[in-house]
Symmetry: C2
Subunit: 326 residues, 2 copies
């Protein structure tokens, strides 16, 4: 099943829609739940009704369906209660810490890195990335993510996997120029992690087929930058799987239904697969050629993030954002 | 005006109530707005109607008012989109960093410290603090906080002060035993900052009278621990005022209406005023006597946090929580 949130003048949560598998048509499901956030809070009562609509929509037997227009949709979940963003691709951590000459944590392979990100107002998937200051070093980070049901404090990684309800893509906007000073203060990221965007559509595990196994999504994340190939790193390379990330987040708190858990920047050791953020590409340039060639994003630069399944079907729709000076 | 959120089986946001100045009676205001979160999103349309109810309630001319029972109320705002917790009392920073032998940030007096805390499910003000592991070093932190309207990115500190709608108290629960390892990873607090509690009631600036000036609340925060005096540090000692904290939070993002900005642990250099957290008391013991006597919280320990105005009237109701092993 694929779900989205139609922009609405009446609610910042948007209106819940069911989206066809081919992403071409949609139908409002507001009679089931006003919005996706509330549907997630009553998932066991709502899922079957939504799945029924999805089956009918794919069969072409829904009367009031309408064509999907990209700009009409919010991030799949326009706002929520917690965005806990992990950093589960070890190669990404190695490259970015090398870039800012920071030591690797001693617990690199045993304890996930995680911070709490802005989730009160995700950018829409085609909304401009506002850039106030070029020195902030605007970067994108292509990630995969899961949306959970309520998760009880102290959950095990195995039980945590059963709390996953939906999958999304994420563009975790990062301001590289602000990170060193902010981390030097000791409190972690804040200003350096502004509003991010989710993919327009969130999907259930069955949409990933055999691509969902071992707590990881086994498809490449397709990243284009300014219309050119930039990366196709496979999301299967997560060192910690999503159950481990959820359990880490829930060690000392319950997680509200609708919690978004991010994978961190998708990253592969094979440089042939490119990168999912500029910081990595810059560091690889430094390693391979001795100097950095790629600047951070400037006004007008575009980033496109999407993922195809094993039949070539676009799974989540695309994140397509442009940097705009404000 | 004083506002609260009555617990409800129908909504995790609770039901919006207006509370009398003496905190003795309440009346539902759900015909104005279902809950406080939504009232904050439409504040300019709702404030006058709520103020009218408040005036009538205080005059004793509201028919369906009912007596306030402490356990019936959530945190004033039971859940919201962002809890940005500052650390604006420099003396607190000095003591806790001394305690964990961490260096002071170079920007101590020029750039606020701030992290993003759990806000998807605040504990109720009389809800037990769940403790899974005694080695986590459970501590309370008495804070003052503000709740903002929508705040545009890049706001100045002076403009930010005009975005404050309500004031609250906060018990920012902290797990001291988890902090050193977590900060060593470089991503800041996560597991070490579990769910916190707000005071049962949130109030408008006029309730603080002359106690609200220069962006700071000029009253002592009364803290009792296990029924004994623990602290009466004056909240006026904030190094950064709330306008500066809000502007810091909004440097690279808009803040959603309902954002809670915390002051950090209220702390005075005069040891006569006691402390608002155990970590400070422990460090003061270390300095003054060469050894730490006070342990962190154990099952059954209680913490009470409240504030009186210059006429001796309790402003926000009380936070009164007990640690419970789970």
């Amino acid at each position: 099943m694929k779900l989205g949130s139609l922009k609405s003048p009446h609610s910042r949560d948007g209106e819940l829609c069911v989206i066809s598998k081919d992403l071409k048509t949609a139908v409002k499901a507001t009679h089931i739940s006003a919005n996706l956030r509330e549907a997630l809070e009553n998932w066991k009562d709502k899922e079957a009704s939504l799945q029924k609509i999805y089956a009918d929509l794919n069969a072409g037997s829904v009367a009031d369906s309408f064509p999907v227009k990209e700009g009409d949709f919010h991030s799949a979940l326009p706002r929520t209660w917690l965005f806990a963003d992990g950093s589960a691709f070890i190669y990404h951590i190695k490259l970015v810490r090398m870039a800012r000459k920071a030591a690797l944590p001693e617990t690199l392979e045993t304890v996930p890195l995680m911070y709490q990100g802005e989730c009160g107002q995700f950018l829409a998937p085609t909304e401009d990335i506002p850039q106030r200051d070029f020195s902030h070093g605007t970067d994108f980070e292509g990630e995969v993510g899961v949306i959970t049901d309520f998760v009880p404090m102290g959950v095990t990684p195995e039980e945590a996997l059963k709390c996953i309800r939906l999958f999304v893509l994420i563009n975790d906007v990062s301001l590289r120029g602000l990170i060193p000073e902010e981390l030097a203060q000791g409190f972690g990221f804040f200003q350096s992690k502004p509003a991010s965007a989710l993919s327009p559509f969130a999907v259930t595990a069955d949409e990933l087929g055999s691509g969902w196994k071992e707590g990881r999504i086994h498809f490449p994340l397709q990243v284009n930058y300014n219309g050119q190939f930039f990366g196709k790193a496979n999301a299967s390379a997560m060192h910690f799987h999503f159950g481990q990330l959820i359990a880490h987040a829930a060690k000392t708190r319950n997680l509200a239904a609708g919690t978004v858990i991010g994978s961190g920047t998708v990253s592969n050791e094979s440089h042939e697969n490119g990168s999912s953020c500029l910081a990595e590409k810059r560091m690889i340039e430094q390693i391979e050629t001795g100097s950095i060639k790629t600047p951070f994003m400037k006004s007008g630069d575009t980033i496109e993030i999407q993922m195809l399944d094993d039949k070539g079907q676009n799974i989540f729709g695309r994140i397509f954002q442009k940097v705009k000076a404000v």
